[in-house]
Amino acid sequence: MCPHTSLKQQFLKKWIMGLQRCSFSKKNMSILERKKTIKLSADIAMASARNGTTRWSRALISNASKDGSDNRLVQQILGPDSNTPAVATTTNKARTRRASVCKKIVKRSHQIRRRRRKCVAAAPVKAVTSSISKHLVRKRTQVLKTLIPGGEFMDEICLIEETLDYITSLRVQVDVMRSVASACFSQS
């Protein structure tokens, strides 16, 4: 359990530091602004706890930085940490990677279409059930790609690996936020 609790503490520290950098307690914010700040700093804390080692964390930070209205807030939260130059280079790399991944996807889909035509000609019943399950897996993989930040550019193996890490991080985020909320509630 030791690495898990240290991850929680790391997330908590980064989150609180991010909130302090936005001078959270001093400003008079509306409830919506406050909620946005809390959520954004929590997401960025979760992503920066990975130190750029996973793709979803880099994609999350770069997506948040791209959004014009939130960009200043994101820079504030990230603070003097030198994560920002890495963000710029990863977007360029992501673009060239995206181009090569797109070509691979097109090539692979042509191959699969050719293979499917051969399969259907040979053994109809088995091919139908296996193609249905393959279709379902493909459909669900597409949905998963929309849920994981930066998922559209990943292949299957990478996607599942990133999902495993993303789920663990999300759980930590929920646990810490829940314990802070219950502690605040018991205080007031």
Partner: protein, 93 residues
Amino acid sequence: MSSRRSRSRQSSGSRITDDQIIDLVSKLQQLIPELRGRRSDKVSASKVLQETCNYIRNLHRQVDGLSDRLSQLLASTDTDSDQAAVIRSLLME
């Protein structure tokens, strides 16, 4: 970490083996509370993926709800000392 990176580099060049995918899908199944008890050969890959998507959406919703709650709670407590005490107690755990 480096082993994971080298494995993904290999798979992007060569064919993706079924064993790799089966291994990853079973790991995913262990993480999802709904499917944790069941035997891995009884749960299909599409079911694991579907439950994964549902679980992630559920976690997103929880984060959203907790941000709502926290924004209301922190608006009412004005003193910094309260919040500092909360944070200190959590860091001690």
